[in-house]
Amino acid sequence: MLRFVVFRLLQSLVALAILSVVVFILARATGDPLHMILPMNASEEDYANARQYLGLDRPYVEQYLSFVGRAVIGDFGNSIRARRPVIELLQARLPYSLKLAAFAMVVSLALAFPLGVMAAVHKGTGVDRAAQIVAILGQSLPTFWVSIVLVEFVAGRLQWLPAGGADSLASYVLPGFTLGWFVVAGMMRLLRSGMLEVLDSEYVKLARLKGVAEHRVVWVHALKNALIPVVTFAGIYFAILVTTAIVVETVFAWPGLGRLAYDGITSRDFPVIQAVVLTTAAIVAAVNLGVDCLYALIDPRIRYGR
């Protein structure tokens, strides 16, 4: 197991190295950031000065090596637009994104588990159909619409919860629910199909024959066998939620990473783009490693020998 973890960490480092080249090139493919920050009447000389000041006049290889060399020790340079160290921006945003994604994940798990399991147990009945409708609505209703409706009714008319910001736990509820509900559909269907297969198995039959109570048959004997695909799915979506919740962050004025990435891209802020992409990649790698370790905990047949 330890060898597996070390191997996977090395693998992730290689992936990050390759990705650093790709993001370096693609960021520069978006155009010249100076057009965005210098005034309309700036002269050729102003451009040359600014370019030299930002280090953009140096050869690409040199720029890349200095970017990577400093990124390794956690220094992503200064934001071209905000004129502050990128790492400060990241430190301000990342915790909020992680916390919101975690909250959203808890919401979707809390919805998907009862819905998926009940749908499988009561397959083909009204319960099944109702569960599927609840799940599919979350995915098919546009996130911006759900957000706006929640702000209007729950925050506006009913005044139950704050409409925006990230000041208290209550302010997590609306954005967390919006994001979480979106993920429920996929998770619920994975659980439902997994449970249907497992509930039909011989070992579930034997558990019933042993006299195990039905709720224990379903929630212990069967459920643990249906978990693997759900864990995979939840891991992937956690990483996605951390970085791409742009719409929800905008509507609920959430100080998250999605907005930072969006602003970085539209203003061609190379250091910010590079930092956000590499951070995202590191999160994806970490989550995947976590998911793989969870597999081994859930299913004893999965052991990472070498």
């Binding site: 070992y203 024959l209 042993k210 006299g211 195990v212 066998n225």
Partner: protein, 322 residues
């Protein structure tokens, strides 16, 4: 002698798109302590559905027990509440399934799966459960049982896993053990060992046993009586010796003729002509009549059970009086 299990006129129907199937159609038999009944017949003849009906675990909602009585030590199981029935399953009526490779839960340890019934049946806790679980594994001759408790199913061989299932089955110990083709997927040598083990456990705990199989050789070695099922009915029931020497029903005779015999001179094996019946479109008559070499006019109506000797009965017009 009072019977441990007394089944009377049991009927289980399955509703399908093509009509209602009478999977178990008026099955009756009784078994005493330490007695073994072999339940034989082709696939789809209703053997497994009969067994599942005894513990009321027929696949719902399609299948339903529609009539009859299942008396275990005099109490009718069909009249019990679901909660009462759950107390009886495993504890008083245990079952061993066909495929040991798939009948243990792959994600839980042998220990967890062994301790579970012990905690339920005997309210054992802590070290006492583990000790008892190890004792049970030892009783089915699993070497170093304490170590095995920490193992997971995929770490054991098929024969070993079926022993574990056997150990769980005797945790009660049960009054009735239903073994649904428990040795079909085991190697021949392991099969013989396992059958020996089951008989030994039966001697020790005196439970009645229903042995479902289509291997007549196993029946001859392990059973006291045989019930032959065809299309949801018991067409012949009797002591093993009589069934093998004087089979009454043409179907039983055909089954016996289809066993290859060692040393028989170049005789061709006899297959039973025709196809197993389509249970959704059975007529009113004897279900075997279309394939029966001895069929005659009366077979157009269903024969009732006729006793031909003490403990030996059949459903066939050839043996009906008058």
């Amino acid at each position: 002698m009072s019977s441990v299990i007394d089944v009377r006129d049991l009927r289980t129907h399955i509703v399908t798109r093509w009509g209602t199937i009478k999977a178990v159609d008026g099955v009756s038999f009784a078994l005493g302590e330490a007695e073994t009944l072999g339940l034989v017949g082709e696939s789809g003849s209703g053997k497994s559905m009969t067994c599942l009906s005894l513990v009321r675990l027929v696949p719902r909602p399609a299948a339903r027990i529609v009539g009859g009585e299942v008396r275990l030590d005099g109490e009718d199981l069909l009249a019990k509440s679901d909660a009462e029935m759950q107390q009886i399953r495993g504890r008083k009526v245990a079952m061993i399934l066909q495929d040991p490779m798939s009948s243990l839960n792959p994600v839980f340890s042998i220990g967890m799966q062994m301790r579970e019934p012990l905690a339920m049946y005997h309210r054992l806790r802590g070290a006492a459960v583990t000790a008892r679980a190890a004792e049970l594994l030892a009783a089915v001759r699993i070497p170093s049982p304490e170590t095995r408790l920490r193992a997971f199913p995929h770490q054991l061989s098929g024969g070993m896993r079926q022993r574990v299932v056997g150990a769980m089955a005797i945790a009660g110990p049960p009054r009735l053990l239903i073994a649904d083709e428990p040795t079909t997927s085991l190697d021949l040598t392991i099969q013989a060992q396992y059958l020996g083990l089951l008989k030994e456990l039966q001697q020790r705990h005196r439970f009645a046993m229903i042995f479902v199989t289509h291997n007549l050789g196993i029946v001859a070695r392990t059973c006291d009586r045989v019930a032959v099922m065809y299309a949801g009915r018991i067409v012949e029931i009797g002591p093993v010796r009589r069934i093998f020497t004087e089979p009454a029903h043409p179907y039983t005779r055909a089954l016996l003729e289809s066993i290859p015999r060692f040393g028989a001179r170049r005789e061709r094996l006899t297959a039973i002509a025709g196809q197993p019946p389509d249970l959704a479109s059975l007529g009113a008559g004897c279900a075997f009549a279309p394939r029966c070499p001895a069929a005659f006019e009366r077979c157009a109506t269903a024969p009732s059970e006729t006793a031909i000797a003490p403990g030996h009965a059949t459903r066939c017009w050839l043996h009906a009086r008058a």
